[in-house]
């Protein structure tokens, strides 16, 4: 099964409607400064290279996939370098340099080469989609789409109407206000069921994504999360930001109109690239969890980003335990980037169970427990995650978990 993705990576379009509309002027040098400003580009490179591409890579396993990235010749070298590095890493990526007058045919010639190398015969149906550089698709996107890519559906569009959305704090790389987003016909992941006859491509025409069903039959499947719509301060839509706080408040207010998701673990399942990592600055306590969660045997994982020079750690926890709770009913496990499980760590035990690794039991006793676990690292080891597990049958309620480092 073949999929073709297309991303216009901050392509310079002097006649961009969005720019003109939002700024009310047509000064192209100002547009260029804005388009390729560090703040805007760093955010987009981060979401595309570090979040979106790993998702696409995972999703496209077992499928034939080419993803064209168009970029402008005029884009500064330092950004282009990063795209080039990504194209080395992800074999499905194909970079194409374009100028404002470059015709679409030129881009499709690249896709044609890809198809022709496969020595296909007859009509070959394939899925085609555009993807903005700040949107994400789920790890099962291609799998779910593949059952609709058939000859009798050529000419149809396919829309996955259910996804997730949330506020992404780019500075802290932190996701907040995670919500469910039911939005049939959304442009993220909207797929054209197309075909190639060995010579030409047939791609069903459409106008606006909101009226796609006026022109073509549209399959809508909204049974599980297939897209992630990132909301952040650095996006074009907040071009006219005057006050950052106000903009963030507005985004969050909008997000609050969406439903919360029943199982937050589905984020890790469908969008592992967004798995939370908390930045832990030295001498500061960072709260990893606050609320009420009955610990599970499969564990809850908290990703961390702690400066490499930190050596002393303290994990504080607040539990609520039933009156008949046995000791050692729960534990905290610490994971390192190097995956080494033999070197001893002062303050932590090493478990024979691989998924536990380095750990300390929680001091479980009836009622509320407020205590902490401290440990010290030697050498240059870096913590990647902290996980908490229920270890016995007794239900233990986690109310707060925090970490500090120095």
């Amino acid at each position: 099964m073949i999929f073709v993705g297309m991303t216009r990576f901050s392509v310079y379009q002097p006649n961009s409607v969005e720019w003109n509309a939002s700024s009310g002027n047509t000064d192209s040098s100002e547009y260029l400064d804005y388009l390729y400003s560090d703040e805007r580009m760093e955010f987009r490179l981060h979401t595309f290279l570090e979040l979106s591409l790993p998702q696409l890579s995972e999703a496209s396993k077992g499928f034939d996939y080419i993803h064209i990235v168009q970029y402008s010749k005029i884009m500064p070298e330092k950004f282009r370098k990063e795209l080039l590095a990504a194209s080395e890493k992800f074999s499905f990526l194909k970079l194409i340099e374009v100028e404002p007058e470059t015709r679409y045919d030129y881009v499709w010639d690249e896709v044609k080469k890809y198809f022709d190398a496969k020595s296909l015969s007859g009509q070959t149906p394939f899925g085609y989609f555009n993807l903005d550089d700040d949107d994400l698709l789920s790890t099962d996107y291609f799998e779910a789409a593949s059952k609709y890519i058939r000859e009798d559906n050529v000419g149809f569009y396919l829309s996955f109407g259910l996804g997730l959305t949330g506020y992404y704090d780019f500075e802290k790389r932190k996701l907040e206000s995670l919500r469910s987003c039911y939005h049939p016909k959304i442009n993220i992941g909207l797929m054209a069921i197309s075909s190639y006859d060995g010579n030409e491509f047939f791609i069903p025409k459409r106008g606006s994504h909101t009226t796609v069903d006026h022109y073509s039959p549209l399959i809508i499947d909204s049974r599980s999360y297939k897209f992630f719509w990132i909301r952040s301060l650095q996006q074009d839509t907040t071009l006219l930001k005057t006050n950052e706080r106000e903009v963030i408040a507005k985004i969050k207010e909008d997000l609050d109109r969406h439903k919360e998701i029943a199982k937050p673990s589905e984020l890790d399942l469908y969008f592992p690239a967004l798995k939370q990592t908390s930045v832990v600055p030295p001498d500061e306590e960072v709260v990893l969890f606050q609320g009420e969660e009955v610990l599970s045997k499969s564990g809850s994982v908290y990703g961390l980003n702690i400066p490499a020079e930190a050596r002393e750690f303290r994990i504080k926890y607040n539990l609520s335990c039933p009156s008949d709770v046995p000791p050692h009913a729960a534990l905290v496990s610490v994971r390192f980037e190097d995956n080494d499980m033999d070197t001893s760590v002062s303050g932590l035990n090493i478990s024979g169970a691989k998924h536990i690794g380095y750990y300390r039991y929680f001091d479980t006793k009836p009622g509320t427990v407020e205590a902490s676990v401290s440990f010290t690292l030697e050498g240059s080891r870096k913590i990647s995650e902290v996980a908490v597990f229920r270890w016995k049958e007794s239900p233990v309620l986690l109310k707060k978990l925090s970490i500090s480092a120095k």
Binding site: Y148, R150, D152, F156, G161, L162, Y182, P184, D213, H214, Y215, S216, P217, L218, I219, I220, D221, S222, R223
Partner: protein, 302 residues
């Protein structure tokens, strides 16, 4: 292509949540009052008219060339004067099958009737068909069956199909006249929402769904809004007026229809809902066709 349609013709079911009228009865907790409302002449004459004079002729025309059964459920307590016209219609329309249901019965008897229809056709494997519910005051267009046919395939079993473009308008029952007719874009509307289903010689598989508005959260949905496929009639004789005073008068209903901006043309009315079209519409449609023909002839000469 095989189609199965089901209409619950003013079925008396005090427990049912499907009826606005029955909700009112629950509020009042007066079965008698509900019964007399449900089978009032005012309400029933309108529904019999819409179903028999407007809907059935279109269903007959549209289903030509297709294999079609339409089951109409009615209550044993329905007065016989209303049953008589239905029985007459059953004689006239081959595809129509009446099934009497009791108060606590749901669809069991409907499906045993449908089974009789399927038995002689079935050989082996899966016999795919399209299944839809149709309210007695809603209309499908003449083109509905042909539009749907391409989607009723084995590959699409388990999916729903919604034809999202239709029409709506105000129907003056006293004068038997359509007074307002607008184009109506309403994806996932329950009118004509079709389940791609199958019969395996033993039983039926019909994809499950909850609310029609969220059908795509439970099953894949094919949405095609390219052509007109339904007519949503508004009339003062309908149950909605019971709760919403805004739509209990003809003025209120017409005001409500102002939000639909595009008119339904006389041509569309004639070609899609001929039973709703007036003589004037037919003349209009005919003149329009002649003009087009004349124009094209002239174009050849110029």
């Amino acid at each position: 292509m095989i189609f199965v349609g089901v209409t619950r013709f003013s079925v008396f079911q005090p427990q049912s949540v499907e009826w606005h009228a029955s909700k009112a009865a629950n509020l009042n907790e007066k079965k008698e009052e509900y019964l007399s409302y449900l089978y009032s002449d005012y309400r029933m004459m309108f529904r019999l008219h819409v179903f028999i004079n407007l809907s059935l002729p279109i269903l007959e025309k549209g289903s030509q060339g297709h294999d079609y059964i339409h089951v109409v459920q009615y209550s044993s307590v329905m007065p016989s004067k209303f049953l008589r016209p239905l029985k007459e219609a059953e004689q006239r329309y081959k595809f129509l099958k009446l099934v009497e249901v009791s108060e606590d019965e749901r669809y069991e008897r409907v499906w045993s009737e449908v089974k009789l229809f399927f038995r002689p056709k079935f050989k082996e494997g899966k016999l795919v068909f399209g299944f839809f519910n149709l309210d007695d005051d809603d209309l499908l267009s003449v083109t509905f069956f042909n539009q749907m046919s391409r989607y009723i395939t084995e590959d699409n079993i388990g999916s729903y199909v919604s034809l999202g473009l239709g029409a709506t308008g105000y129907y003056n029952y006293d004068d038997k006249k359509l007074e307002v007719a607008k184009l109506c874009y309403n994806p996932k509307i329950n009118i004509g929402l079709l389940a791609v289903s199958y019969f395996n010689g033993d039983g039926f598989f019909i994809p499950r769904r909850g609310s029609h508005k969220l059908v795509d959260q439970e099953a894949p949905l094919i949405l095609d809004s390219r052509a007109i496929s339904f007519f949503w009639i508004r009339s003062v004789h309908q149950d909605t007026g019971l709760y919403d005073k805004k739509v209990s008068s003809s003025e209120g209903l017409k005001k409500n229809l102002e939000k639909y901006k595009r008119q339904l043309t006389a041509s569309h009315l004639v070609s899609h809902f001929p039973s709703l079209a007036s003589k004037r519409d037919f003349i209009h449609h005919f003149c329009h066709k002649v003009t087009r023909k004349v124009k094209s002839i002239f174009r050849k000469f110029l």
